[in-house]
Subunit: 332 residues, 2 copies
């Protein structure tokens, strides 16, 4: 395992201590629990936005807490859901009377815990709504969208909901806009190597050298096509075609594109992939409003990338382009 | 090779096409040469800042071209210097009468080509000054600072010079401040895996599984200590001690810290390392003014990281904290 760590069981808490030390002006934690993270900036009367999920995906989830984006986040161990009790604590902290919206990925453990937290919040008279992101077109066929996993495209739901809340819209409106973003984003990924969970010390799945797996999930969930690594352009075209026909995206659409590195893939290669995305979309007379390239939802040392497309209308575009300032996303 | 690419010989140009497509509002190229990159925003009468070097280090070098930072950049093939002729073209383009400052890393090929470009610019009546970054304390002992390689700490020289030029200071002043930044930054790195140059298809050096090499350069230049991977805290302490005693940094100093991922190392681990840096510096009563964590100077799929410390005075601090807006660095 070619990794920089101390005791594997301290991986998450040491990472968190580093994060709080580095960004103390922007984020803090509550109840002496490092895993209950909240924004240092509060805006009275604003809808609170919370997310949560397992560790091992930086900057997802905690990196998106800050001005113009999310207000709180709970994280669990590597690839493990945080508890409902932790989510309740964050919910109470970030509620300033306007209610709280949960935005998280479509995974069983997270759904169970967020649902419990929502029920407990109800007892405390805090109104909570939920938007679940599940945009990985490889994880379930069309018609079974509610089985799809949430992956990097959840960034768009965070960003747009964050801007809508920052504009002081009421809870129902923020939830409606967040749901619209979730409904209009599609993602597909390709993995080239597995990742190693520090406490396990080895990969819990394998990809043969020289091979790839299209559609693999960010925890190593099985994909839809295994085989020798194809040229980047061919991989991009295959994935993009599946994304485009799914929503479907249409000629002339305005879209935003996110090319997400899974952790170990060089930034150079994300740009090589983007070049092909831009070429294909240009031919369809689609215009790209904002290109996001880099690491948005990773799996530690996994190599590979995902492509997300968000279909824009004037409302989504407006909130997408609004400023924000978090440890990992600064937009002017 | 678990990488996403097409023909290896097109690696650099395809990456560049993606970069221009993604950031067309911010950067462009001149003379139909993709490798001569300039900022899309021009500020009349401002000192022009140029850099250059080999590809394979994104966001270094080209990602730092934009508002409040650099004005132009030439890049070569992977790990290869661009030509003097290319540098001259960029120099002419970014000169608006106030002269041009070259800032680049201490490598033989780059020195030769930048010197030639400076001479050719002189014939065109463009005043050019140079600041060379060489801050890797592992690459040559104290007393032989001029033999040291430039690595991730060059980011600080770019950032501070960029802000000084943006403040419309004259060439000599921008060069003086850039040189002060270069004189006050120290870096040390550790590599855990080699990287693969696409055209070669294999690593040009090796690190045994379970081993690390402290002090290895970003092109695989030999380091100062090989052996089994130690706990992260121990690695950080060893590297930090060498950095601190070199300048030397002193108790009570104000510093900025940059933890740079070499490409394949998870962001989580950079935060684990930062936690230890913060702890050690706190004990020395040193205050950290700005923590920068992420990928600043990479070697494609190399695993490992480097630590850079910049000793601040009021002048350096002022320019460090000024805003900028490039494809890879946005600071409010």
């Amino acid at each position: 395992m070619q990794r920089l760590l101390n005791k594997p069981e301290n991986y998450v808490d040491e990472m968190l201590k580093g994060l709080y030390a580095a960004h103390k002006d922007q984020i803090t934690y509550i109840n002496d629990d490092l895993r209950c993270l909240v924004s240092a900036s509060k805006k009275k009367g604003k809808v609170g936005l919370a997310t949560g999920g397992g560790s091992g995906h930086l900057p997802l989830f905690l990196g998106y807490v800050g001005e113009g984006l999310l207000d709180g986040c709970c994280i669990g161990g590597v690839f493990q859901s945080p508890s409902a009790a932790q989510m309740l604590e964050v919910t109470k902290e970030i509620n300033s009377g306007a209610g709280v919206l949960y935005i998280y990925g479509n995974y069983g453990g997270d759904i169970m815990n967020f649902n419990m937290a929502q029920e407990m919040a109800d007892f405390e008279d805090i109104e909570v709504l939920q938007v679940i992101a599940g945009e990985d077109v490889a994880s379930a066929p069309k018609g079974m969208e509610n089985k799809r996993r949430g992956v990097a495209g959840i960034y768009y739901v965070f960003k747009i909901a964050g801007a809508a809340a920052d504009a002081m819209l009421p809870l129902e409106e923020v939830a409606r806009i967040a749901q619209k973003a979730a409904d209009n984003v599609r993602t597909m990924g390709v993995a080239l190597t597995p990742c190693i969970i520090p406490e396990a010390g080895r990969a819990n799945f394998s990809i043969k050298n020289g091979n790839m797996e299209i559609g693999m999930g960010i925890h190593g969930e099985p994909g839809i096509e295994k085989g020798p690594i194809k040229p980047a352009d061919q991989i991009v075209e295959e994935m993009l075609l599946k994304i485009l026909e799914d929503l479907p995206f249409e000629n002339g659409d305005e879209v935003s594109v996110l090319i997400n590195g899974l952790g170990a893939t060089p930034l150079e290669e994300l740009y090589i992939a983007y070049r092909k995305v831009d070429e294909v979309l240009s031919k369809k007379n689609m215009s790209i409003i904002k290109a996001n390239l880099g690491e948005y939802a990773t799996s530690m040392d996994m190599a590979g990338m995902s492509i997300s497309l968000l279909k824009l209308d004037e409302e989504l575009k407006k909130y997408l382009l609004m400023p924000c300032n978090t440890p990992f996303v600064v937009q002017k």
